[in-house]
């Protein structure tokens, strides 16, 4: 059966309704295909490849992230799930409808339908495995657990809610159309029903990082440019050195990466009351230009050793200083986070909003953890943020067409 693009389906369904009535079911297969726009934002990103998509892909604008608990301890069921998820994710990424049965009048369609007529919109679907997956005796994966997949240690400033943390399997769906990202998570959750249960999920409405030199630096909800000094995908040397797992990892993880997610609630009401001067000193950059304090260009190097009238130009407790590679023995991470809002904080009547931080690295214990240990203790930003959710996932390498993500585990 040939894949059904969502645009094609729409065009033919319209024709069917006009002239052919019920008998036209299935007629979409021969419908005339619309010219697929491949312009930035609407085109498709290859699902299969050396690495999973959604890491070195230029960060899309929208996110729907979900963490699932595995309900079975039967390895065959887990493999079957991963096989089905891989197929569905590949279909959705290509802008095709998910599943085979989408036109049987008496059957609910496989695809939930909300993306019919929408373009692929740069959808990427990225899968990861949490430490706890390897603790389930029935699965027999204990010996496969990489040393780097140790649960994150308690970090200073943590205010974690277990209900918004952890998970056995995660799915990161990114797209330039929020409905396309939502559709991916919804359909995977449906396919997994009975095998997995969604533990928590997070919508992100705007990217807060730049992962490609082709992108402008976006602003986070504090109004600050975020991700200026991020690793860029074009910097393949940095990607190899800091992001992709190499020979140090087990075979099934080589070419993969480790993903840390942190749900960071911003106390926006408090931040908004801070003077411009305090905001800039907290971050260590000028608000509007994004330049380091005292500078005028966003991309000029941080003058960490410079003094101004007897004080360090970039304050000792400023976020950029503490997070800089120079102050972290050279450690860097690939950030790929999103701004979120989930309505009103019930007990405060304030905006429940912030940053859903995502980062990728070769080893979280050597990269994210030491950076956050310092940030959590003395970052001036801590006055305005709370880390309320946390998770670590091993993101295996990409699948080949015909294979499935995580296949190397079994």
């Amino acid at each position: 059966m040939a894949p059904t693009t969502r645009r094609r389906f729409l065009a033919s369904a319209g024709a069917g309704a006009a002239g052919l009535g019920l008998g036209a079911a299935g007629g979409f297969l021969v419908g005339q295909e619309s010219a697929d726009a491949s312009a930035n934002g609407t085109g498709s990103v290859a699902f299969y490849g050396t690495h999973q998509a959604g890491i070195d892909t230029p960060a899309q604008d929208r996110l729907h992230f979900a963490a699932f608990d595995l309900l079975t301890e039967d390895p065959a069921e887990l493999q079957e799930l991963l096989r089905e998820w891989t197929l569905a994710a590949a279909e959705a990424s290509a802008g095709e409808m998910v599943g085979d049965v989408n036109d049987v009048p008496l059957a609910p369609p496989d695809d939930t339908g909300e993306t019919v007529g929408l373009l692929p919109s740069s959808l990427t679907v990225t899968f990861g495995f949490g430490p706890n997956l390897f603790e389930k005796p029935g699965l027999g994966l204990a010996g496969k657990r990489p040393a780097a997949l140790k649960p994150l240690p308690p970090l200073p400033g943590d205010e974690l809610d277990p209900a918004e943390s952890g998970g056995d399997i995660c799915v990161q769906a990114c797209s330039d159309d929020p409905q396309v990202a939502f559709h991916a998570i919804r359909n995977l959750a449906r396919i997994g029903r009975g095998t997995v249960a969604m533990r928590w999920s997070q919508l992100g409405f705007g990217r807060t990082a730049t992962t490609s030199r082709s992108q402008d630096t976006p602003r986070n909800l504090m109004g600050m440019k975020d991700g200026t000094a991020n690793i860029k995908a074009e910097d393949t040397e940095a990607m190899e050195r800091f992001v992709w797992v190499g020979d140090e990892g087990p075979a099934w993880m080589r070419g993969g990466s480790y993903m840390v997610t942190r749900r960071i609630r911003m106390l926006l009401e408090v931040w908004d009351r801070a003077s411009l001067q305090d905001q800039e000193r907290t971050i260590g950059r000028h608000k509007y230009s994004g330049a380091p304090l005292g500078g005028s260009d966003e991309f000029e190097p941080l003058p960490l050793d410079e003094q101004h009238n007897g004080h360090p130009l970039i304050p000792v407790d400023s976020h950029v200083r503490l997070a800089s590679a120079k102050e972290n023995s050279g450690a860097r991470i690939l950030r790929r986070g999103y701004s979120f809002t989930d309505g009103v904080d019930e007990s405060l009547g304030e905006l429940e909003a912030g940053l859903f931080f995502i980062c990728f690295q070769r080893d979280a214990a050597k990269q994210f953890v030491p950076i956050q240990e310092r940030l959590g203790q003395i970052d001036a930003l801590n006055e305005y943020i709370k880390h309320v959710g946390s998770a670590l996932f091993a993101v295996p390498p990409g699948a080949k067409s015909g294979g499935y993500v995580g296949e190397g585990l079994f």
Binding site: G157, R273, Q277, L293, G295, S296, H311, G349, E350
Partner: protein, 372 residues
């Protein structure tokens, strides 16, 4: 980009100055005058010196068509400028500058860049009212740190004696004076975390101070092992009391401190995170607000000069916040945080947000007072 924005962006470099950023046509009282002539060569003098504080730059075009403006820059950032001074015209602008080296930039001249060296101390520039405001807050500050030392002593004694019940009864009395002046304590680096860190703020080995003892008393139900922690706490609050006596205070800083206290309320008191074992968060809540009110009252005369309307609104909002807290008063203190419903905390949070939004306008408003 407008000048106001540029100006605000550089204000951080002049950290403690009261009128951190001012470029105005009216010369501030007592401003040092520095005169320049625009010539084909650039600006005359090429280099000059001035004392820290308000400086008025008088510029006259002495017959050049090449140079028609002068800028004072800090690095590449323009702090102040006078433009469009064609032959025969003159003009001026004023800046308050801290000690340092600045660039005199005269675009178009043969030699465009000269150096302005500013030396000396800014503090002497305070008006009598500013000095009065600072003195009044200093008194409040010292009263509270003295009280902190006095009220911590019996608490520490009870902990050392292993008397859990007595220590619990003395806990909040020691906390109150600290919570009133917390932003000042925070300016002394590691002193605040030693005295007041919550369990997850610091590595386990560094968890000490009030909240370590709070945890022992309320959660562990014993003071065992707490004697050294208590002893250190007493030493730390004494160190704080000694340090505040020499701390350099500025009016804008005091006003900022009021904001920070309300930020504390929003971030950790309304959420019950501060006193997570004793649940005495509302005691801290009231102390933070009282501390903010005292800081505000100290600088209020300055605000009354520039924005009496805002001043009146803030006074009314303080009353509103205290009124919102009133239903939860119980005995000498307040009900346990655990008795509050989400609707209760929501109402309290909203009252703080209302007040704090206005209070956050005070530092800029009183910095303005300096130029009048």
């Amino acid at each position: 980009m407008n000048l106001k924005m540029l100006c605000a962006g550089t204000a951080l470099l002049l950290v403690l100055s009261i009128s951190a950023c001012g470029s105005s046509e009216d010369a501030p009282a007592g401003a040092k005058q520095v005169s320049f002539k625009l010539t084909d060569a650039g600006c005359e003098p090429h280099d000059t010196k001035a004392p820290a504080g308000p400086i008025t730059f008088e510029i006259e075009n002495a017959g050049t068509a090449k140079v028609t403006e002068m800028e004072i820059m800090d690095g590449e950032t323009i702090l102040g400028e006078k433009e469009n001074l064609s032959d025969g015209l003159s003009g001026n602008f004023s800046l308050t500058l801290e000690k340092g080296e600045y660039t005199i930039y005269c675009p178009g001249g043969d030699d465009e860049r000269g150096t302005l060296i500013v030396s000396g101390d800014l503090k002497a520039q305070n008006s009598p009212q500013i000095e009065k405001s600072i003195a009044s807050y200093r008194t409040y500050l010292e009263q509270n740190t003295d009280k902190l030392v006095a009220k911590t002593a019996p608490f520490v004694a009870a902990v050392e004696a292993g008397d859990v019940a007595k220590a619990k009864s003395l806990y909040t009395a020691a906390r109150i004076p600290y919570e009133k002046i917390e932003p000042v304590a925070e300016s002394f680096g590691s002193l605040d975390p030693r005295i007041d860190a919550r369990e997850n703020d610091v590595p386990a080995s560094e968890f000490e101070g009030f909240h370590r003892i709070e945890k022992a008393l309320w959660e562990e139900g014993t003071a065992a092992g707490m004697a050294p922690v208590a002893k250190q706490l007493q030493a730390d609050v004494e160190e704080l009391a000694a340090k505040v006596k020499t701390v350099d205070l500025q009016a804008v800083q005091i006003a900022n401190g009021a904001n920070e206290l309300l930020g504390e309320v929003s971030a950790s008191k309304i959420t019950g995170e501060e006193e997570r074992y004793s649940h005495t968060d509302l005691v801290d809540f009231e102390a933070n607000v009282e501390g903010a009110e005292a800081a505000f009252e100290a600088v209020k005369p300055l605000l009354d000069e520039t924005d009496p309307e805002l001043s009146g609104e803030i006074e009314a909002d303080f009353k509103m916040v205290f009124a919102a807290l009133e239903p939860y008063r119980q005995g000498n203190g307040f009900v346990s945080y655990t008795e509050l419903t989400k609707a209760d905390t929501r109402k309290l949070a909203q009252s703080i947000d209302t007040l704090a939004e206005k209070l956050s306008q005070v530092p800029a408003a009183i910095a303005q007072a300096e130029h009048q």
